[in-house]
C-alpha cells in the first residue's frame, strides 16, 4: 500500500479537482489551449469609461452573466463557476461538498453604482448623511450584502454545501496561495478529509484601477493591450490588472484513494514569510521572498535541486521581477539558469486575490500535460535578469515538481510546492 503520510508524518494532501476562469475563458480546457498557444487575454476596457485614465487596458472577465453587475456579484460568480468545475471533476456533489471553504477574495466596498443610485433616491441631507438616511428605509438585503466582507463565502457555503464557518481571507497578491495553504493545514491537522480552496477576483472597477494607477503600479502600454504584460523584459512598466478565479479540491491522499478519486497532483509544501520593509516595496536584499521559498521547500521535505519548474509571480512590474530574480537566484544558485521560469501573467494579467489559486491550477496542468506555458512578449530581455523564461513559445517538458510564487503588497509572501506524484 502507498504511503499516506509525508516526511513529517502528516497526511499527504492531494488535488482531486481543478477549476479555472480567466480572461482567456471559462474552464481548464479553453484556458489551457489559449495559455499554451501564447494567447493574451488582455484587451481595451469596455466595462466603464476610460476618459482621463492613464491605463485603459485590463484582463477583465467580460463574458459572465455578472460581468456588469459589480465586484461582489462577479466575484461570487467567478468563485462558484470554478468551484463547480473543481468539485465535479473530483466526482463530488456540487451542492453538498462536505468540507470547509477557504476563499481568497478582494476586500469589498459599496460599488459606486449603488452609491449613485442610493443618493439619487433621496433629497434630504447631503453627502454620507443622506446615504445613511436612505439606507434606513431600504427593504432589501441585496445592497447590504455587497458591503459585507463575509457575504460571498456565506452564500457560497449555502450553494456548495460547505461545512462550518467559511474563512474569507486577503493577503493581497498572495491571497490565492494562502487559501490553498489554509486548506492544506486543515487537512494536515486532521480536521477534515477534504477542503475547497478558491481564489476569486472580479473587482476591476474604475476606482480599483485608479488606486493602483496612483501607486504607479500599472502598465500604461495601452496601444497594444496584448503586448503590455511583459514580465522579465527590459521595457516592462507595470502589471495589467485582471480578473479570474481558481479553485482546488484538496483531499487527503487516503481519502482520495479510499473513494477511488483521480489524483491530479500533490500539494507537497507551503511556505510564507512577511516583509517588514515597506508597504509597496520589498526588502532590497530579497530576504523575505528567499525565506518564503526556502520555507516551502522545507515544508515539502525537498531540496532546491528537486524543483523542475518555477511558476513565477512575474507581475511585469520593474520591482517585482527584479526581486523575484534575486530571490530565485539566491535559493537555486547557478542552477536557476537551467530551470524553466515562466509567468502566466504575461497572458492573463494579474488576477490579484485570485492569482495564487489560478497559477496553482496552471502549475498542476503544466505537470499533467507535460507542457510549460510560455512567458509571452519577451522581445527585449532584461539583461539583469538571467532566467530561462520559456520565451514566447510553449515547451514540452517532463515536469514532476513545481514551485509557485506569490508576493503581495503589504509584505505578504507565499510559495507552494506542487508535485505530480504523491511519493
Amino acid at each position: 500500500m502507498a504511503r499516506m503520510t509525508d516526511h513529517l508524518g502528516r497526511p499527504i494532501v492531494v488535488v482531486t479537482g481543478i477549476g479555472v476562469v480567466t480572461s482567456l475563458g471559462v474552464g481548464k480546457t479553453d484556458n489551457w489551449a489559449a495559455l499554451t498557444a501564447g494567447k493574451s487575454g488582455i484587451h481595451p476596457i469596455t466595462r466603464f469609461p476610460t476618459d482621463h485614465l492613464n491605463t485603459r487596458i485590463s484582463g477583465t472577465v467580460d463574458f459572465l452573466a455578472s460581468s456588469d453587475r459589480g465586484a461582489s456579484a462577479l466575484t461570487y460568480e467567478l468563485a462558484e463557476t470554478t468551484a463547480h468545475e473543481a468539485i465535479a471533476e473530483a466526482g463530488l456533489d456540487v451542492a453538498n461538498f462536505g468540507g470547509p471553504l477557504f476563499l481568497a477574495s478582494p476586500p469589498v466596498e459599496l460599488d459606486w453604482s449603488e452609491r449613485f443610485s442610493l443618493y439619487a433616491s433621496g433629497s434630504e441631507d447631503i453627502g454620507p448623511e443622506r446615504l445613511l438616511a436612505i439606507a434606513r428605509g431600504l427593504n432589501s438585503l441585496d445592497v447590504f450584502q455587497t458591503s459585507q466582507f463575509g457575504s460571498i463565502a456565506d452564500r457560497l457555503s449555502d450553494s456548495l454545501g460547505a461545512t462550518g464557518l467559511p474563512i474569507t481571507l486577503s493577503t493581497a497578491c498572495a491571497s490565492g496561495a494562502t487559501a490553498i495553504q489554509l486548506g492544506v493545514e486543515a487537512i494536515r491537522r486532521g480536521e477534515c478529509d477534504r477542503a475547497l480552496s478558491i481564489g476569486a477576483d472580479g473587482s476591476v472597477t474604475a476606482e480599483a484601477l485608479i488606486r493602483f494607477s496612483l501607486l504607479s503600479a500599472l502598465s500604461t502600454q495601452n496601444d497594444m493591450p496584448e503586448r503590455a504584460s511583459k514580465p522579465f523584459s527590459k521595457d516592462r512598466d507595470g502589471f495589467v490588472i485582471a480578473e479570474g478565479a481558481g479553485a482546488l479540491v484538496l483531499e487527503s491522499l487516503e481519502s482520495a484513494v479510499g473513494r477511488g478519486a483521480n489524483v491530479l497532483g500533490v500539494l507537497r509544501g507551503c511556505g510564507e514569510k512577511a516583509d517588514d520593509f515597506h508597504r509597496t516595496r520589498s526588502k532590497p536584499d530579497g530576504s523575505p521572498a528567499i525565506a518564503t521559498v526556502r520555507a516551502a521547500l522545507q515544508d515539502a521535505g525537498m531540496s532546491e535541486g528537486e524543483i523542475e519548474y518555477v511558476n513565477a509571480h512575474g507581475t511585469s512590474t520593474p520591482e517585482n521581477d527584479k526581486m523575484e530574480h534575486l530571490s530565485l537566484s539566491t535559493v537555486f544558485g547557478e542552477r536557476i539558469r537551467d530551470i524553466p521560469v515562466s509567468s502566466n501573467k504575461s497572458m492573463i494579467g494579474h488576477t490579484l486575490s485570485a492569482a495564487g489559486a489560478v497559477e496553482a491550477a496552471f502549475s498542476l496542468m503544466t505537470m499533467r500535460e507535460g507542457v510549460v506555458p510560455p512567458t509571452i512578449n519577451y522581445d527585449n530581455p532584461d539583461p539583469a535578469i538571467d532566467l530561462d523564461v520559456v520565451p514566447n513559445v510553449k515547451r514540452s517538458a517532463d515536469i514532476s515538481s513545481v514551485i509557485s510564487n506569490s508576493f503581495g503588497f503589504g509584505g505578504q509572501n507565499a510559495c507552494l510546492v506542487l508535485t505530480r506524484e504523491p511519493v
Partner: protein, 396 residues
C-alpha cells in the same frame, strides 16, 4: 498538562473605556460600570468613541502613522500593547518567528471626495466620466493602502517586526472567531509556537455605520444597554471604536521563556447557521455544548451586538443553561465588529486570571455572579451571520 495547550500571554485592549488591561479591569469592575457615549456626532446614531491615544507610544515613527488611517493605526497600536504585555516586542527573534492572524475590515474612504462626487452626480449624466475625473485628481495616492484590509497586518509587520507569517481574515465578527480558532488549532498541532491574533474597528466614519444600516441594523433614539433594545427604534446595534489583540502561545513555548499566562484557551467552537432556514437559538445551544458550557455555572462574556434577532436568540440560549450568567460588554464598549470575539476572549481571560467575576454591566438584565471564574465562556453571535464561542480556563 499538555505542552501544546494554548495559553494567553499577552493582551492589548483599546475601547471607549481607555487603553490597556489595567484601565479596562478598573472600569469594568467598578461598582456600576458606565459606557462612554457620543450621541451627537452621528445622530440619530450613538457611538462609543475612541479614547485619547498618544499614537507615538506604540508607533514611534510619525511617517508610519501618516501611512495609516485611524483603523490601521488603532490595530497597530493595540497589537503593540499585546506584544509589550507578552514581553515579545523587544525580542526581534521572537517577532521574526511569530505568526499573525488579523481579523480585518477596512474601507475608510475619503468622505470629502465621496461627498463632492455624490453632489455632482445629481447634475451629470456621465457618471463614469465624473468618477474618473474626480478620483484621478482628488484621491490621495497613499489612501488606498492606508485603508486596505491586509495592510493592518502589513503595518504590524513594519512597525512591530512580526514577520513569521501574516494572514488577514475578513468577514465581520466571523473573521475574529476564525482568526482565534485557526491560531489555536495551529498551536495545538505544532504548526505554530506563538501567534499574534486580533482585530480592530473604528466606527467613527459614515461608511462604517452604513455597513450596518444598509440592512437597518443600527439602534436609534436614546441609548440603552444591549439586552434592553428589543422593540426600540432601529435595529439594536450601537457600535464602538476599539481593538483587541492577544498573544497566544503553546504552554511549552511560554514556559521556556519564563512567562506566566493569563489563562488557557480551551475549546473554540465556530458555526455558520443558515439563519433564513435554521433556528438560530438551537444552533447557539449546539455551540454552547460544543464549547463545553452546557452544564452552566459560569460567567459568559457575551459579544451580543444588540441586533434584535441575534441578541434575543443568544439570550434565550444562554438562559436555557442553568447558572450561565451573561455579561454583555457591548453595553459599555459598543459593537467592535471584527474585534468583538478577540475582545470577549480577552475579558474572559482577565476574569479567569484575577479570579474575580465582573459585576453586572446592565443593572436590570444581568445578575450578580458569585461562582468561580476557573472557566469563563466567551461568545460572539454575529449581527447578521456567523457565530463563535470559546471556553477560557484559569491556568492553575
Amino acid at each position: 498538562m499538555n505542552p501544546q495547550d494554548v495559553v494567553i500571554t499577552g493582551i492589548g485592549l483599546v475601547s471607549c473605556l481607555g487603553e490597556g488591561i489595567d484601565a479596562h479591569w478598573e472600569k469594568l469592575t467598578a461598582g456600576r460600570p458606565a459606557p462612554v457615549l457620543d450621541e451627537n456626532r452621528f445622530a440619530p446614531y450613538t457611538v462609543h468613541p475612541l479614547p485619547e491615544i498618544d499614537w507615538g507610544l506604540q508607533i514611534a515613527k510619525r511617517g508610519d502613522q501618516r501611512q495609516m488611517e485611524t483603523w490601521q493605526r488603532l490595530g497597530t497600536y493595540a497589537a503593540g500593547l499585546a506584544l509589550d504585555d507578552a514581553a515579545i516586542k523587544p525580542d526581534l527573534d521572537l517577532c521574526a518567528t511569530m505568526d499573525m492572524v488579523v481579523a480585518a475590515g477596512g474601507g475608510e474612504r475619503d468622505e470629502t471626495v465621496d461627498a463632492a462626487i455624490l453632489a455632482q452626480s445629481l447634475t451629470r449624466d456621465d457618471l463614469g466620466v465624473l468618477l474618473n475625473e474626480q478620483l484621478t485628481t482628488e484621491l490621495r495616492p497613499t489612501l488606498f493602502l492606508a485603508q486596505l484590509s491586509n495592510l493592518l497586518a502589513g503595518n504590524i509587520s513594519i512597525v512591530h517586526k512580526v514577520t513569521g507569517s501574516s494572514r488577514t481574515f475578513m468577514g465581520e465578527e466571523g473573521a475574529g472567531v476564525a482568526a482565534i480558532e485557526t491560531a489555536a488549532a495551529r498551536i495545538r498541532c505544532g504548526q505554530s509556537t506563538h501567534v499574534l491574533v486580533g482585530g480592530a474597528f473604528q466606527t467613527e466614519h459614515h461608511d462604517m455605520l452604513l455597513g450596518y444600516e444598509l440592512a437597518g441594523y443600527l439602534h436609534r433614539g436614546p441609548w440603552k444597554p444591549v439586552w434592553q433594545r428589543q422593540g426600540s427604534e432601529g435595529g439594536g446595534v450601537v457600535t464602538g471604536s476599539g481593538a483587541a489583540f492577544l498573544v497566544l502561545e503553546s504552554r511549552q513555548h511560554a514556559e521556556q521563556r519564563g512567562r506566566t499566562a493569563y489563562a488557557r484557551l480551551g475549546t473554540v467552537a465556530s458555526g455558520r447557521s443558515r439563519r433564513n432556514r435554521d433556528d438560530l437559538g438551537a444552533e447557539i445551544s449546539k455551540l454552547l455544548a460544543k464549547a463545553g458550557a452546557e452544564n452552566g455555572g459560569m460567567l459568559a462574556i457575551s459579544g451580543a451586538s444588540g441586533a434584535h434577532k441575534a441578541t434575543a436568540a443568544e439570550r434565550a440560549a444562554l438562559e436555557g443553561v442553568s447558572g450561565l450568567e451573561p455579561r454583555a460588554f457591548g453595553s459599555l464598549t459598543g459593537h467592535l465588529k471584527e474585534a468583538q470575539f478577540p475582545f470577549a476572549v480577552a475579558l474572559a481571560a482577565l476574569a479567569a486570571f484575577k479570579k474575580q467575576a465582573y459585576p453586572a454591566f446592565d443593572q436590570q438584565a444581568e445578575q450578580a455572579f458569585a461562582g468561580s471564574t476557573d472557566a469563563v465562556l466567551a461568545t460572539t453571535v454575529g449581527y447578521h451571520q456567523f457565530e463563535g464561542m470559546a471556553l477560557v480556563h484559569a491556568t492553575d
